[in-house]
Symmetry: C2
Subunit: 532 residues, 2 copies
């Protein structure tokens, strides 16, 4: 991976896009007006919703979309030798200046079949955009959704730290995971570059290797620390050793079994970061050495006027350990009369999944911060969102894919999507209408057909109506002020708050209603009949 | 995603690496000689092996490893304000010039606990490398392994096409998937940029949107095609229509039910790519319209001297459909006396997984090419390889992580890894020895202890011995000629061929033996005792 190795993303696509582009060009159809929709067919992880994400990156891609000379040369080398030279001359002129993109605002709650993006423009160009747009939306939306699920499980108060970089699909996989987990509801990332590039708050403490790298107290260097309110440096090591004796007595832990390398590591770290000391207590035995050493250093810091930042556990039964650790902290708090000691934040991590987090939360735990890596960034419950990009109109004609596989069908035509709200302010239906239809209005009854059900039309009266999509890209330019990452994150939580808990349940949610107007329903039926 | 947005990868790491670096620096330990090993603890996907991959990218990262001014400034903004200024001055001087990296050659078969990489150098620097190296090795090795598993299932003759770009973790995820699937045994990728950057052969045909974009035969333009051995262009459309009548008669398909848009699409594509026509036959009904249209166009091409490239099916029961299609091709071959028609390659894709591929292969199918996307690039059987990077030595002292979690233990010390071969030429054991021990030799008996078993020492006599690791990076430079991607791919297949089929079984493989020498065993026992 060499930084900047990419000329542009214009070739980050499937070869068949260029084969088809040639087919269109040879048939003189390259400039026919066309429209594609990007959507998914099933909500991820057996859930009832997804968060749309990746729009910002799609817009950056569109702005820079052009084929440079080395890219054209490469294409010439891989397309059949019979491909006409003039086609490549045409490709040299291609950009996104005639492309229009509408989208749900980034971070919006979205549902199966409803387009996340609507892409209009010359047939050849919008075809070429397919794979890259899918690549930029699919993972972003998936990981944002996954993060939102973890956030719902953890409740609003726990701090959530994303730490999946080492398990992601390479550098961009890791960066995307950090960015979109934040959107979905995480507080922090461990990924420094994500902090620098996107402004996601970064956090981190120490690793086992740091603790392991110390063997004896001789290695503590420097040993002095200034009290918070004093100028005279104190030799911190004997202070910590003194506190260790008291702690061992109080906790009835054999003092001679405590690991000296670990104590040396904690003391060194505390001297380096007196305001930010967080101890990783499970390199050796947690209760036999990790916790006594931590408490000793924390109490020594307390004596100098500092408060510690927390404790971290990275293995074993996290709920049980947190309870035991909290008990020890309370004992020390009472015994040494240090009130804040009882509430030292406990951070845990150890391959936490939705299921293990759910169990942790049910146990009524003593955990304050949760670090999640692999199961957040790789989304094992559903490792791909499965968005598709389908032609819905070309040359003014609505288009339909009607295969033997019912699930792979598409909804034809240029559409407006209305989100309908009920009297309690919750969203209850996404309604797709043809562009030429009169707009849905609050308080006005409308006849709809629910997708996926063969029943008759039903009539609904929304109390409020929102048009889901906005035009974000036009005439080669981004034409909406784009929100900051923090604004996108807030929008995601706001959008989720307008969805009934029944639809947000992680398992067996009540399906959210997606419907089409009568007019769109009849168009669909007509096209089905005429295609058969 | 903006190309070239990354200054370098030096910040693509967890924040705690810098916190620990500061801890080391404050303790004056930054230049202590240290050694880390990168390894995984369990073979992926319940299998018996992995392929090591990502080395080339690790070396490129090391070569460029330096913290630039904007990166230092960012670090200053996120580390505690008490962090000394001189630390950042020190970071400005840090690079990988004193780092030595040994590795198994890229593409080698590797096993749990055995290091893929051994990284030696100043403590602070080698600590800082952890997350990035893990990020570059984990996914690369996982997807190469996954590709090798698909290749073993498919057998050596089927052509395998990687087409996962749209489902990968963003651009780099997609690029890595294409590159490392090729190493693992795939023939082609659909990802054009992977072709350009890495030389992976690219392939592609047409999408449903291409077929859907045509409505009537009026849209076919141009309509003429020169015969292969002639100068006089022929109007190709009536020729295809004529053949369609004959095909419909032969196949007893109602001629009036055949979709004209689809025929128009096929005819246009054939005129554009007369040497490379491959028809996607499942946009509408496969047997009712896709296959008749395909055969008509293929036979019309045949009349002008061209052979088609293949048929593609992207939905439904692939094995059954391939058999039915083959039957039709044979019928046409016999009926119209076109011998090659019976063997037109059939390509399939439709969310193919290990399980569905296994079923396809057991059915004795008529499939020639298989496209695999989501289940290749996201590795749903195990979405992360789970490599770790552990300290094994610092300042001359072997180090051990000895937690209450047995599985998370490490093997201490600087080690040499020998791969031992039996009389049949197959590898039967990876033996880890301390660096200072006399080398293992062919024909010489050696006492070993198998990992994960508490039994006594056993004695083995290898017929051949290979040292697994080579030094790839020294003095800031790559110090081995690096193989081409094709050479890495060949090495992977060669390395796999030296492994017994019992270890390569995809389910319930016989575990490959990983052992330590008596001397390493006793070091491990001593350290365990003294840590407890």
């Amino acid at each position: 991976m060499e930084p900047g190795r990419r000329g542009s993303l214009a070739l980050l696509t499937d070869l068949y896009q260029f084969s088809m582009a040639y087919g269109y060009w040879r048939a003189g159809r390259q400039r026919e007006p066309a429209e594609f929709e990007l959507f998914f067919r099933r909500c991820p992880c057996q859930g009832g919703f997804a968060l749309s994400a990746g729009l910002g990156e799609c817009l950056a891609f569109l702005r820079g979309f052009r084929l440079r000379e080395p890219e054209i040369e490469y294409l010439q080398s891989v397309l059949p030798s019979t491909t006409e030279k003039a086609f490549f001359d045409y490709l040299r002129t291609v950009d996104a200046s005639e492309v229009t993109v509408s989208s749900a605002p980034e971070g919006s709650v979205v549902f199966a079949t409803v387009p996340l993006l609507q892409v209009k423009g010359p047939l050849l160009v919008v075809q070429l955009l397919e794979t890259t747009l899918l690549c930029l939306v699919n993972y972003a939306s998936l990981v944002a959704t996954n993060a939102a699920r973890f956030r719902m499980l953890a409740g609003p108060d726990k701090k959530l730290l994303e730490l999946g970089l080492r398990r992601a699909q390479g550098p961009d996989g890791g960066l995307s995971a950090s960015k979109y987990s934040y959107i979905g509801g995480f507080d922090w990332t461990s990924n420094v570059l994500a902090g620098k590039l996107y402004g996601v708050p970064v956090r981190g403490t120490m690793a086992h290797s740091y603790v392991m790298s110390f063997t004896s107290l001789m290695e503590v260097q420097p040993r002095t620390l200034k009290p918070l309110d004093g100028d005279e440096p104190v030799d911190f090591l004997p202070l910590a050793e003194l506190w260790l004796q008291r702690v061992c007595q109080t906790l009835r832990v054999p003092h001679d079994r405590v690991n000296h390398g670990e104590l040396a590591a904690f003391v060194s770290y505390a001297i380096a970061f007196p305001h930010n000391f967080q101890g990783l207590v499970d390199t050796y035995s947690i209760m036999g050495t990790g916790i006594p050493n931590f408490c000793a250093v924390a109490l020594a810091l307390n004596q100098l006027g500092y408060r510690v930042a927390g404790i971290r556990v990275d293995s074993g039964d996290l709920g049980k350990q947190a309870r035991e650790i909290r008990q020890v902290l309370r004992t020390c708090s009472a015994n040494f009369q240090v009130p804040w000691f009882a509430t030292i934040p406990i951070a845990v991590s150890n391959d936490i999944s939705e299921r293990s987090l759910e169990e942790l939360m049910q146990e009524g735990n003593e955990i304050d911060m949760i670090g999640i890596g692999t199961n957040l960034v790789t989304c094992p419950l559903q490792p791909s969102l499965g968005c598709v990009y389908k032609l819905v109109k070309v040359n003014g004609c609505p288009k339909l894919k009607l295969t033997e596989d019912e699930e792979k069908m598409t909804i034809p035509g240029s559409k407006v999507v209305y989100r309908l709200y009920d009297a309690t302010g919750l969203a209850f239906m996404d309604l797709m209408a043809l562009e030429e239809e009169p707009p849905a209005r609050a308080g006005q009854e409308v006849a709809v057909r629910l997708l996926g059900r063969s029943e008759e039309a039903r009539r609904v009266t929304p109390m409020a109506v929102e048009i889901l999509h906005r035009t974000y890209f036009k005439d080669g330019q981004v034409c909406q002020a784009l929100p900051s990452l923090l604004e996108v994150k807030s929008h995601a939580q706001a959008s989720l708050s307008l969805l009934s808990p029944a639809h947000k349940r992680l398992q067996d949610p009540e399906p959210y209603q997606v419907a089409v107007t009568e007019k769109l329903h009849f168009l669909l039926s007509d096209l089905r009949r005429s295609s058969r």
